[in-house]
Amino acid sequence: MQTPRPGRDILDRALRASWLAAIFIALVLAPSHPYDALSLLAGQLIAFLHFIFLRKIVKLFTEKRGGAGALIAIKLVLVYGGLMALMSWGRVQYAPLCAGFALPFAALFLKSMMMLAFGAGPASLMRRGKPAVLVAMFLALAVTSPARAADPLPSTSGTHGATETRPGDAATPDPSHPQPGANAAEAHHEEGAAELPNWLVILHDWNPGNPVINWLDENQVIVFAWIAGFLFLFISWIAMRNAKMVPGVLQNAIEWMVESMENIAGGLLGEKHIQRHFPIIGALFFYILTINMLGIIPGMKSATSSLDLTLALALITFLYVQFWGIRNLGIVGYLDHLAGSPRDAIGWAMLPVMLPVHVLGELAKPVSLSCRLFGNIFGEDTLIVVFVGATAMLIKASLVALAVPPMAGITALFMMLQTLTSIVQALIFSLLATVYLYMMLPHEEHGPDESHAEAHATH
């Protein structure tokens, strides 16, 4: 295990694992979609070549030998030329080619993450958690099974069944007039504003009419929110699995983040209350941060670019704040707070004005929270989509050499801006929740707050 250059070892084994996975998936796909299986293998081959060339180039550069330029040229022609030729050939499907191309990257990512977590690769899951592997294989089979061949009225009954069996889902686009699945999905996509295709859209284009894929595609926001939630849980679980007094790398990073967030929120809320309220404030911050950051990964989407999720988060915050307001102030005190604390004749005279104003102010808080988060993330995503679209248009006009380098640079710049926006918006959301909470809590806790500040000053 402890080789002098462990990264190289991981790369070799990840490539081998990705070949095994590609051949397995191709064998599964071969009876129903023979061309898709071939395209998957072609994508895998091209990504494999990419890694081989990359390693050779890096070796030439680190050992300061010549010939790296020529190798780069050969690689560009072979890998990207091969990719473009395959795509323009027409027979090759776009989705399986992309999936094949992504396989080694995914294997490398998974392997390095799991090595970091368990000191063993994903194969160790086979021994540890057999149910999880079985569920994953079942899901893979359900997704790849062609619904078209199964029944005579394929897509209509497929979508209909998917919507009928889950009556609680309000996210289905238009259940009143059932269209064929592909058309309905296209209309669904054209209704919304432009966005980059994520892997669910690609999956849907590849195998339309499959009920599982249809359900996933219709509830993209929920799926990506789940992915972010599980990622968040997984990373924190890895970091805190073997918590030690002298922390390791990941534990140190996570502890630093949590502690600084607690300090920031504690400076607003005071020492006494932060103990009680940090769980929800910190969870809001890290959950929103994970969701926002997910949008930077190609093929993923930040779920906060939909008003549904941000409104849900804001409503949770609103209910939490009101609950603690009632609990801390009591019913009478809460109503008094809403009425603007009338103490004299003028205060009571202004009551009919002040009460609606305060109630409206409380109701405006979730709206403002959700719209701010949604607008920022959606605007950032739209900006990137516009630039990617412009690049695509220039490539269509066969201005590749002119279009790609500057446009890619601009897009990368905006992606850095997106990183900043993600962090700042998550911070603003959770800090505003803290401020709203602070307004609801009893205000005479200046004593502990000041002593807290003094304790910091004396340190």
Partner: protein, 77 residues
């Protein structure tokens, strides 16, 4: 004037006006925060938090205009 045409003219102007207001607000906030930082550098962490919250409030006004634009965009035709 046709409704879509009025909308197409009005939305960008509205966003621009909102952005002017937010820009002035954020500028004042930044100015005040910078001056305070220069006078009293040790207050930096607390100041930054308050500044970011202020930025959030000031920026939200433009975001409202932006969200309104998204809601009305489809009706431009």
């Amino acid at each position: 004037m046709l409704f879509p045409a009025a909308l197409g003219l009005g939305l960008p102007i509205g966003i621009g006006l909102a952005a002017i207001g937010s820009g002035i607000g954020i500028g004042f906030l930044g100015k005040g925060a910078m001056e305070a930082m220069g006078r009293q550098p040790e207050i930096l962490p607390k100041l930054q938090v308050a500044m970011i919250i202020g930025f959030g409030f000031a920026e939200a006004l433009t975001i409202y205009a932006f969200v309104t634009m998204f809601f009305l965009q489809g009706r431009i035709g």
